[in-house]
């Protein structure tokens, strides 16, 4: 088990190094002069020189890379050119929205997907199964921004239970959670649909396994056999999808954040790109890569907890 953990940790660090080199190269080295890119064609020589100075573009690419990495390791992500505040501060601010939003959406998606996936699998070929499969098909097909607008129309405009957008901050946790509820639902719908389908097919796979027959021969009812033997075996593919979904939810909520006027990470990176704020783009990208790799690492560890056969490797 210790060996498994160390190998996973090593692979995590290597992935991070490779990713940082690629991001640095794509943003700072390949396009040529970042300062020209940021200021556009009409910039004067003086402003360009001033920006280069500010960005620390004086040294070689190698020394700039190590400066960048060293800064990030100590929590210094540079200063945003457009906002004129440290990127770390910006990101921390945005994470207060994005992290809870992603967590809520993921929790919702899992809470919905597990029971309906199990229900569909246990009623394979029946009316319930067809109903659930049809509904999840729809859930995947409906664009989530459109679904988000329907939610706003119903719950914010007509019923007036929720506000139509904006984020009041965490001073009042109840209000904060309330404002994240509709966006989380909108984000969770397609995720839950996908997850439910994965759950269903993973379970069906286990139903034909010999150990399920053994369980029934011991006197377990069908439901007991599913709960006690099938579920944990079906968890591996489901965990993989959950890991991917969390990574996606963290940064992929741009459209939903726009629909609900939420100051999240997705919007930050989007604004960074449109305003050519390379410092923001570079650091936030790196941060997202880090979170994706970290989640993958956590999923790997969970695999080993679920399946004893992996602990031996």
């Amino acid at each position: 088990m210790l060996r498994y953990l160390l190998i996973r940790a090593l692979s995590l660090s290597l992935s991070l190094i490779v990713a940082s080199v690629v991001i640095f190269a794509v943003i700072e080295v390949i396009p040529g002069d970042p300062a020209t890119y940021m200021l556009g064609l009409n910039a004067t020589d003086e402003t360009l020189a001033a920006l280069r100075d500010e960005l620390g573009l004086g040294g070689s690419a190698l020394s700039r890379y190590f400066d960048w990495i060293g800064g990030m390791l100590t929590g210094d992500f540079g200063t945003s050119y457009t906002y004129r505040v440290p990127v770390a501060e910006l990101v921390l601010d945005r994470l207060q929205v994005s992290l809870p939003l992603a967590a809520m959406a993921l929790a919702l998606s899992t809470l919905i997907a597990f029971p309906i996936g199990i229900l569909a699998a246990s009623n394979r070929g029946g009316v319930v199964d067809y109903g659930i499969m049809g509904a999840t098909q729809l859930g995947i097909a409906i664009p989530n921004f459109w679904f988000a607008m329907l939610l706003v129309l119903l719950f914010a405009v007509t019923l007036q239970w929720f506000s139509a957008g904006g984020f009041p901050g965490w001073d009042n946790p109840f209000l904060a959670l309330k404002s994240l509820t509709l966006p989380a639902i909108a984000l969770a719908l397609p995720q839950a649909s996908i997850l439910a389908r994965v759950m269903r097919s993973a379970l069906l796979e286990t139903f034909s396994q010999d150990y399920m027959r053994t369980a029934r021969a011991k006197g377990l009812s069908r439901g007991q056999a599913i709960r006690r033997h099938a579920l944990r075996n079906a968890l591996i593919p489901v965990l993989t999808i959950i890991g991917l979904q969390f990574s996606f939810l963290l940064a992929g909520a741009i459209i939903i954040e726009n629909v609900f006027f939420l100051p999240g990470l997705g919007r930050l990176i989007f604004q960074g790109i449109t305003q050519r704020d390379l410092i923001v783009v570079e650091s936030v990208t790196m941060l997202l890569v880090f979170s994706v790799i970290l989640v993958t690492f956590l999923v790997d560890i969970t695999y080993a907890l679920v399946d004893p056969r992996l602990r031996r490797r």
Binding site: Y211, G219, N233, P308
Partner: protein, 529 residues
């Protein structure tokens, strides 16, 4: 105690069982024998109330007068594992891989509310001890155990509540002969100790001949003959019983004239694997094949027997030139056999594997499947030529040339094995490696394939390397035999001599463990093994 009275079963309208009647007395071992598809497993599942969806039954299946077929599902759940326990064929997959063995045995007790968690663990420990797993801790997972040990865990779970009937569906088919003998001994002991009845389902007449008090022979959903084991085997009233008996000990007519020229020379071959990891270090390397030498002559049929893990598969892969060897040399016709050997040289050696279902691409037609080894030839036949060669190969294995336009799923297991042989013959090889090639087949099909192999050997002057754990088959088809144990050849000699007067203790153990059909019956054939 258990009585089936004119039980008929159909699944989605397709008749599976017809008027099956049998009685099992308390403490009795009842053998149910038949080939695949004869309905023997379905009979057991009907008793357990575990029939697949779409099943419709008529007749009665009763346990002490209670009609099992009319019981509600909750009542059946109370019965399963409690009154009737069951074990299955594949111990490797019969246990939940993510749960400890202790938990899986204890579950039988807790699920029926017969013990709380602590008591259940204690009883589970006791039951595991009873099945000979005293030395195995309860917190082991199935993958840490061997096949035989896993089957013991299944038995422990099945007998945890002292059921009155234990159903064992091909409990030893997937196991080695020595393990099989141990498991059968264990079952016999337990049945005697606990006074339970045993319904032993098998395709292997020799297994029930040794074990059962009474047997029933099944064919296509019907019991064709039943009675005390000795009487049934001695009288063989029904033609099917006779056919089954003859097929079990079938000896193909072979006329081989071993040519003194060695075709395959294996000299002091060694193949080792890195040892398993222990923390950050590795234990010493495993010598899967350890200094093996032998020669195979033209036109000769050589058997290689040994139990799983003895190294015969590793040796086979090396002989086929699939894996590198670490020491020694393998020569075919004087040319070294290595993974880098020229393709054309590979055409001289072809292989037939065990599983006639898994070894074909299901989306290819038979013509393409059989013609595939042609890519080994520097100048493969094309168009009409190619089709003629495929037709020729199909004819050689007694299939029709028209079959080349079909897909593999349109054939039975035996026919698929014929296709596999045709594929192996297409390059006109000198040596055919038969890796458990008849092990997955029913006895009657197996007998016909053995006849075919004997015939082809005469016709094409083929040499066979026949790898099997099944001693009966090896005795029937080989001239010489090698016995392999932990990577080494421990005995070598003419097949008859080795089987009648084995010199190495391991060979004696193997022969002793193999179940046998009684000597004084069985028609004109001498009993094998």
């Amino acid at each position: 105690m258990i009585a089936l009275d004119r039980l008929s079963l159909s699944i989605h309208g397709q008749p599976i069982l017809r008027d099956v009647s049998l009685d099992i007395a308390p403490g009795e071992i009842f053998g149910l024998v038949g080939e695949s598809g004869s309905g023997k497993s379905m009979t057991a599942l009907a008793l357990m109330g575990l029939l697949p969806t779409g099943a419709a039954t008529t007749g009665r299946a009763s346990l002490d007068g209670t009609d099992l077929l009319s019981l509600s599902e909750p009542a059946l759940c109370r019965l399963r594992g409690n009154e009737i326990g069951m074990i299955f064929q594949e111990p490797m997959t019969a246990l939940n891989p993510v749960q400890t063995i202790g938990a899986q045995v204890a579950e039988t007790l807790t699920i029926h509310g017969k013990a709380d968690a602590t008591e259940a663990r204690a009883i589970a420990r006791d039951r595991l001890d009873r099945v000979g797993l005293k030395h195995i801790p309860m917190d082991r997972y199935p993958h840490e155990l061997s096949g035989g040990q896993r089957q013991r865990v299944c038995i422990a779970a099945a007998i945890a509540l002292h059921p009155r009937l234990l159903i064992a569906d091909e409990p030893t088919t997937a196991l080695d002969v020595t393990t099989q003998a141990q498991i059968l001994d264990l079952l016999r002991d337990i049945v005697a100790d606990e006074g339970m009845s045993l319904l032993l389902i098998t395709h292997d007449l020799a297994v029930v001949a040794d074990m059962a008090d009474r047997i029933a022979v099944m064919q296509t959903g019907e019991i064709v003959e039943t009675g005390p084991t000795k009487t049934v085997l001695a009288r063989q009233d029904h033609p099917y019983t006779r056919a089954l008996f003859a097929a079990s000990s079938h000896q193909p007519d072979r006329a081989t004239y071993p040519d003194p020229a060695p075709l395959l020379a294996v000299e002091n071959v060694t193949r080792s694997y890195p040892g398993p990891r222990q923390g950050f270090r590795r234990s010493p390397p495993l010598h899967a094949v350890d200094g093996v030498s032998f020669a195979l002559h033209e036109g000769e049929s050589l058997g290689l027997v040994g139990e799983s893990g003895c190294g015969k598969s590793t040796l086979t892969r090396a002989i086929l030139g699939l894996d590198p060897i670490q020491g020694g040399a393998i020569r075919l016709n004087g040319t070294p056999v290595t993974p880098q050997m020229p393709r054309a040289a590979r055409a001289d050696i072809q292989v037939v594997f065990q599983d006639p279902y898994g070894s074909f691409n299901p989306r290819w037609r038979v013509e393409r499947l059989i013609a595939e080894p042609f890519h080994l030839l520097p100048d493969p036949p094309r168009g009409g030529d190619r089709r003629d060669r495929v037709a020729e190969a199909l004819t050689a294995v007694h299939l029709s040339p028209d079959d080349m336009h079909k897909y593999p799923h349109e054939f039975s297991g035996g026919q698929r094995q014929r296709i596999a042989i045709a594929r192996a013959l297409i390059t006109r090889p000198k040596l055919l490696v038969l890796d458990e090639a008849v092990s997955a087949l029913d006895v009657s099909v197996r007998a016909r394939i053995l006849d075919l192999l004997a015939e082809l050997q005469g016709e094409f002057h083929l040499s066979y390397l026949f790898i099997s754990h099944d001693l009966t088959v090896v005795r029937a088809i080989t001239d010489r035999v090698l016995v392999m144990q932990s990577g080494k050849i421990v005995e070598e000699g003419a097949t008859e001599a080795v089987f009648t007067a084995p010199t190495h203790p391991y060979t004696r153990t193997l022969l002793k463990a193999a179940p046998r059909l009684p000597d004084h019956i069985g028609g004109s054939h001498d009993t094998l093994v």
